[in-house]
Symmetry: C2
Subunit: 119 residues, 2 copies
C-alpha cells in the first residue's frame, strides 16, 4: 500500500460533498496574500499600514479585499477607534488564531518539502 499507515481519513474530512465549508476555507486560505496577512497578524500587525508594510508587494486594493473577506469569514475582527484621525484595527479573532494553529503542520510540511527539493 502506501507507506506505513493505511491513511484512512473519515469520509467527512476533505471531500466537497461532505464538507463544503472545508473547501471554502481552503479556497480562502489558498487565495493569494491570505497566508501572508494571517502571518502578519500573528506577528503583531494591526493597522492597515502595518499590514501593507510587512507584506511586500501587496496592493491597497487587494489588502482591503482580503481583509474584508477574512472579516466576513470571522477570522479577523475590524475595530474602528474614534480618534482623529480615525484608527482602524484588524485583529485575529479566536477562530483566526485557531486557524493559524491548524495551519502549522502544513507550514511544517512545506518547509521540509522545500528543504528536500532545495538540495
Amino acid at each position: 500500500m502506501i507507506g506505513t499507515q493505511p491513511l484512512r481519513l473519515e469520509r467527512s474530512s476533505i471531500h466537497d460533498d461532505s464538507c463544503p465549508s472545508f473547501q471554502a476555507a481552503l479556497e480562502l486560505i489558498g487565495r493569494r496574500w491570505t497566508g501572508s496577512i494571517l502571518s502578519a497578524a500573528a506577528q503583531g500587525a494591526r493597522r492597515f499600514g502595518e499590514y501593507r508594510a510587512v507584506i511586500d508587494g501587496i496592493s491597497d486594493r487587494l489588502l482591503a479585499q482580503r481583509l474584508r473577506e477574512l472579516e466576513t469569514e470571522g477570522l479577523i475582527e475590524r475595530t474602528v477607534i474614534p480618534s482623529t484621525p480615525v484608527q482602524i484595527r484588524y485583529d485575529l479573532s479566536t477562530e483566526g488564531q485557531a486557524l493559524l494553529r491548524a495551519l502549522q503542520p502544513l507550514a511544517h510540511w512545506s518547509i521540509q518539502r522545500s528543504a528536500r527539493q532545495g538540495r
Copy 2:
C-alpha cells in the same frame, strides 16, 4: 491556550518572502477540486474514471488538469501499465500522503467551525 499565549510563529512559517513554496502549496491546495482529488486518492481512487466517479461534478478537463498539476508538484505519481487497453494509475506519493496528514488539523478546524456556525 489560545487567548493565553501571544501566538508567536516563527517568521519562516507562513510569510511569502520566507517561504514562497508554502504559498505555492496553499494555492494549489486551495484551487478548486484539489482537496476532493486528494481525498478521493486517500479513499482508494486510482484510475481516471474512479476519480471522476467519486468526485461529483468535476469535468474531464479539470480533472486532467489538476492531476497534472499534482503530478508536477510531486504529490501524485502517474504510472502507465502496458496492458490492452493501457491502464493509467494515479497514486498518492509519499509527499502527498504527508500533505494529507498535514491537512488533517485544518479539516478538524473546519468541522468544528461549521458545527459552531451550523447552529
